[in-house]
């Protein structure tokens, strides 16, 4: 059961929780369990083709899964997954 850190813009879809424990031995499985628990998250993480959206990055601990094995990246119970979407605020 890995811990998934939920960023502020997506907490509206996780009953306001900032971290969720989800089961799975790969990133794909953990995110699958997460979106099964919170179906409204799915559309915000994946596009119509079922691929992670290009403005949402997923990290296992501090490493970007794009540079590991993407969805197939192995996840241990002690690992922390971070979902990090792009944010633009700053000037106004």
């Amino acid at each position: 059961m890995a811990k998934v850190l939920i960023p502020t813009p997506l907490r509206q879809f996780t009953d306001k929780q900032d971290a969720v424990i989800a089961a799975g031995s790969t990133v794909g499985e953990v995110l699958g369990a997460l979106t099964a628990q919170f179906p409204a998250l799915r559309n915000n993480l994946y596009n119509a083709e079922g691929k992670l959206r290009s403005f949402v990055n997923v990290y296992v601990n501090d490493e970007d899964i794009r540079y590991l094995d993407k969805d197939a990246t192995a996840v241990k119970d002690s690992d922390t997954l971070s979902i990090v979407p792009s944010i633009a605020g700053g000037r106004s």
Binding site: S82, G90, R91, S92
Partner: protein, 384 residues
């Protein structure tokens, strides 16, 4: 240009820098002979402008074309209450010159565009990105990559901030982090989502620290690291940021030249944006108020959040936040006429769409929301 020196006044002013070996006379002269372009004088740009001026950066370019308003004052500390209504660039200039008249400040009172970005940026050593929108962020990034100028990045939302250093000789750029922007509407802006006023102070000063370190050539920069700051948890985390393998050397392979960033980010051009169409389903606050006064039968629903309802509300309206509507729609009579309102009319339009799809036939949107209600019906209702 002759090598810069420090006047006696400057030696005194910078004495706490000069007595540190990491800065010293050599470092202070590096700061004085350097130039930085600050894009935006808002939440991030406010502390950046003040501290970079105080630090003695020789030449600071400032890009902004906005005007100070009351909602800025909660976080944009470079502007004061007396500046409301003034161009931000003038107010920022006055504050920075007051802090340090030795600094040369160049005002660029324009919107940064694909047409002017390279011309403006080329005269500076590095760029600090204090913008608030995706098109300008991608524009700043691409222009910095093309010109080989480091881009010191910061971004904020509610209680969270991000910072990094992009577009150095061998480091990643913003497109390595996020190849493409989100479609409009999916990621809320600070104007929609709110922001803790102190947050841009923290993130802007992380950026200012990185600027000074890059100029001094000291320490470890955030190059290749994405710093995440969570003010609620009071935690800093960092994630590894790699250059996209598609760009092994030299510049980012995605960037061939500047493009149309409005189009890239899926936004209509301002001049092409169609005028809002008033449909039969729209109703003005004035009409709603007249119908309430006549005692017409209809249900007025406020789809804003509970904390917004606490700021101001229309007493006749029933509060059902947009997110709760799916599970609470059964409280409503499908045969009744329903009028939805929110702050400005966007969320209530979504609520109307949802209700129509759910089978409600007489659904109307109060145009302009409670802000327009304040203008047209009851000026005692505060705007936020």
């Amino acid at each position: 240009m002759s090598a810069p020196t420090l006047s006696n006044e400057e030696v005194l002013r910078y004495s706490r820098h000069l007595i540190m070996p990491e800065v010293g006379m050599e470092g202070q002269l590096k700061l004085k002979s350097s130039s930085v372009l600050l894009v935006g004088t808002g939440g991030l740009g406010a502390p950046l402008g003040m501290y970079l001026a105080a630090a003695g950066i020789g030449r600071i370019g400032v890009v902004d074309f906005d005007v100070v308003d009351h909602t800025n004052l909660q976080r944009q500390v470079i502007h004061g209450t007396k500046d409301v209504g003034r161009p931000k660039i003038d107010s920022a200039y006055d504050r920075m010159m007051d802090i340090n008249p030795n600094v040369q400040i160049i005002k660029h009172e324009v919107a940064l565009t694909s047409e002017n970005a390279l011309e403006i940026i080329k005269d500076y050593d590095l760029v600090v990105d204090g913008t608030d929108n995706f098109p300008t962020r991608y524009l700043v990034n691409d222009a910095c990559v093309l010109l080989g100028k480091p881009n010191v990045y910061g971004s904020i939302f509610r209680f969270e901030g991000q910072a990094s250093v992009f577009a150095t000789d061998d480091g990643p750029c913003y497109r390595c982090l996020y190849p493409e922007p989100p479609p409009p509407g999916l990621v809320p802006s600070c104007a929609e989502g709110g922001v803790l006023g102190i947050l841009p102070g923290v993130v802007g000063l992380i950026q200012a620290t990185e600027v000074v370190k890059i100029i001094l050539g000291k320490g470890d920069s955030l190059k290749g690291r994405l710093m995440l700051y969570d003010a609620l948890g009071m935690r800093f985390r960092e994630l590894k940021l790699r250059r996209d393998p598609a760009c092994p050397t030299g510049q980012c392979s995605r960037i061939k030249g500047l493009i149309d960033y409005q189009e890239f980010c899926g936004m209509p051009h301002a001049q092409e944006a169609p005028a809002p169409v008033v449909t039969d389903a729209d109703i003005t606050p004035k009409e709603v108020s007249e119908r309430l006064a006549r005692g017409d039968r209809f249900v007025l629903i406020d789809v804003r959040e509970v904390h917004e309802h606490q700021i101001c509300n229309i007493p006749a309206a029933q509060l059902i936040p947009l997110g709760d509507l799916p599970k609470r729609a059964n409280e409503l009579d499908p045969a009744a006429e329903i009028i939805c309102h929110c702050k400005s009319g966007m969320r209530s339009a979504k609520a109307c769409d949802f209700l129509r799809q759910a089978g409600f036939r007489h659904v109307r949107n109060m145009k302009g929301g409670i802000l327009a209600w304040s203008d047209q019906v009851d000026p005692s209702v505060p705007k936020y």
